[in-house]
């Protein structure tokens, strides 16, 4: 995946994993994003969406957060449940040196484990 110039430069990447509790995951992710921004002054975030919901229907779960955001640049990319793609993506982000965290629904243990194995901090929701 080629990142967007400007919008995905000096950004923080957040992997959102959800099946049934998307809106809870989105709220936790947004709080985390605000905390990171306050700490690091980062204003650009890319959400990678790991979910069983097809694109663009997953957006229904994130709508509240997206509609209330007026402060940060947000880029949203769909991953689905393709574990190979996710694994490659994590490696790519890690090798680029960008900050990366995961916010994952508690019953998506496989995703959380994969992230943790690759040294990514995971917040379980």
């Amino acid at each position: 995946m080629k990142s967007l110039r400007v919008l995905e430069e000096n950004n923080t990447c957040i992997i959102l994993g959800f099946n049934g509790k998307g809106s809870d995951v989105a709220l936790v992710a947004y709080n985390e994003l605000a905390r990171i921004s306050a700490r690091t002054r980062c204003r650009r975030f890319t959400f990678f969406i790991v979910t069983n919901k097809p694109s663009p229907y997953y957006i229904e779960d994130l709508r509240y957060v997206l509609q209330n955001n007026i402060a940060y640049t947000i880029v949203m990319r769909y991953v689905g449940l393709d574990m190979e793609k996710l694994s490659r993506l994590i490696d790519e982000i890690r090798s680029s040196g960008k900050p990366l965290i995961g916010v994952v629904e508690s019953d998506m243990e496989e995703i959380s484990r994969l992230l943790e194995e690759k040294g990514v901090q995971v917040i379980r929701v």
């Binding site: 995946m1 967007l4 663009p56 709508r63 007026i70 947000i74 769909y78």
Partner: protein, 506 residues
């Protein structure tokens, strides 16, 4: 036949100059009322002239900016009229659409929709456009669709249509700094993000905002971006305040003049804050701006303001006599007998003003808001400025006594020439079921406001039409159409109150 790989386009409700009269464009935000839809559409959004490639002689300003950025970056890009898209099917790889109100969820479309139960024209035309054979063919051929503009957020509520039409990316915010790379990636067949929100930190600088390459609708030119009022709910205010230099404004006016447009609409969230000291207007930059504009358009060209705040109107006049000065020295003459603009009243309740818009009355206190509104309306009336004013009903913390205050303010505004449009503050979930919203949220005192606004607006619209508007002989059919509608609205006024009361009783 075609030669453009990036095509910017939109449906007819936006791709029109509305007979050269911007206010007529608002008719596209409602369904046909009292006259056949075809006539309504012709009144609101007639077809625009195009060249042999289907490029319109005038196009929406925001799209012109994006077009200019892409052309400057070396893309083969152009705005194409929706009726001429077929000429570019062979070359088009990216189709970009910008809109003010894709699905009629914005004001005042949603109000018209709620009150009449009929889909507004803008929504119908956009859906028809996206379902058209040429757009479907483009998708089949692998053209990538990027949707943007001020109403981009509405796609978040139309996921079925997003999927059905194969939209690739929805982008919100000021895009000048970032759009080139997104389009390049679309052309290169790269994976695109579903959604992008360009935050205020990535807003373009003055240098990054290009001069438009071809004419904008009715000569609209931007004079500033951002707003210093700092309202917490508004994204515009978070963006850096940028005053467009006079030279750049002049260049754009000349682009428009070259295309035969005789007038200028100065666009800003608040025209009187051009070059201001915070929220206090300053005479010097405003006088220079209007002097330059008047010189450019000459004595016969129209001049209009997009928006101004009521507090700035009062302050500018009372401190410096500035409104009268601008109107009498630069705007009014034997050919220009009015200045149209939009203003926001929002509420007549000081209590509510303090909660929802504490900065809107600055430099006056929110407690003084009704007086600020009336003083500004008097100043505008005396200076032949005709405002289209908005009110918001149903705000989350609104109480019946707040609406009564708004009714009292409407009585005070009766003597002043204006059109007042009530809008509902609509939580989006409710909007999805429009009639439900009306039944659940409409209160008896709201009905009184709706009726009073309509009475006020019909009374003054007749006076405006008879004395000031649509005087040009070639606009006689438009004038007739508007008069027919006003007659229908006047007749409907008698039955409006009982109809709405019956609706809330159900």
């Amino acid at each position: 036949m075609g030669k453009y790989e990036v095509v910017l386009t939109v449906d007819r409700s936006m791709m029109s100059n509305h007979h050269g009269k911007e206010f007529l464009g608002f008719m596209a935000t409602g369904p046909a009322m009292g006259i056949p839809e075809k006539l309504w559409q012709w009144l609101a959004a007639p077809k625009i002239k195009v060249d042999s490639e289907g490029r319109p002689v005038q196009a929406p300003y925001g799209m012109r900016k994006v077009e200019a950025v892409l052309i400057d970056a070396g893309f083969k890009a152009a705005i194409i009229d929706p009726d001429h898209l077929h000429k570019h099917l062979d070359t088009m790889k990216v189709m970009m659409v910008g809109h003010h109100d894709y699905f009629a969820y914005g004001p005042p479309s949603s109000e018209f929709w709620s009150m009449t139960g009929k889909e507004p024209l803008n929504r119908r035309l956009f859906i028809k456009f996206m379902n058209s054979p040429v757009v479907r063919k483009a998708k089949e051929k692998g053209v990538r669709f990027i949707m943007g503009g001020p109403a981009a957020w509405q796609w978040l509520w139309e996921l079925e249509l997003w999927k059905k039409w194969g939209v690739d990316t929805v982008i919100e915010g000021e895009v000048e700094r970032v759009i080139v790379d997104l389009v390049q990636k679309a052309l290169d067949g790269e994976e695109l993000p579903d959604y992008v929100y360009v935050g205020p930190g990535d807003s373009p600088s003055i240098e990054e905002i290009p001069v438009i390459k071809a004419a904008s609708v009715n000569g609209l030119v931007e004079i500033m971006r951002g707003c210093p009022r700092g309202c917490k709910f508004c994204s515009v205010t978070l963006r850096p305040l940028r005053f467009i230099p006079l030279e750049k404004i002049r260049e754009e006016i000349r682009v428009n003049k070259k295309a035969g447009i005789k007038g200028v609409i100065l666009h800003s969230e608040d025209v009187l804050l051009y070059g201001a000291d915070g929220v206090r207007p300053r005479p010097e930059p405003l006088l220079k701006l209007h002097k330059m504009v008047a010189e450019e358009v000459g004595p016969k060209g129209d001049i209009a303001w997009a928006h101004a705040s009521l507090a700035a109107i009062k302050y500018a006049e009372e401190e410096y006599g500035l409104v009268s000065k601008l109107m009498h020295e630069y705007i009014l003459n034997e050919h220009r007998n009015l200045l149209g603009l939009e203003v926001g009243i929002e509420t007549g309740s000081p209590r509510l003003a303090k909660i929802i818009m504490p900065a809107k009355s600055l430099p006056y206190k929110p407690e003084e808001w009704p007086d600020v509104v009336e003083d500004a309306f008097r100043i505008m009336h005396e200076n032949y400025m005709i405002p289209a004013a908005t009110l918001i009903l149903g705000l989350p913390e609104e109480k019946p006594e707040d609406v009564v205050k708004t009714l009292e303010l409407l009585d005070r505004l009766r003597p002043y020439r204006s059109v007042i449009v009530p809008m509902f503050f609509v939580p989006m979930g409710a909007l999805k079921k429009n009639m439900w919203f009306m039944r659940e949220h409409l209160k008896p005192e709201h009905i009184d406001v709706l009726v009073k606004c309509l009475e006020h607006s019909i009374y003054w619209a007749e006076e405006i039409i008879n004395r000031f508007y649509l005087k040009e002989p070639y606009l006689a059919p438009v004038r007739l159409g508007i008069k027919l509608f006003l007659r229908f609205a006047k007749r409907g006024l008698k039955s409006l109150k009982p109809t709405l009361e019956a609706m809330i009783r159900k």
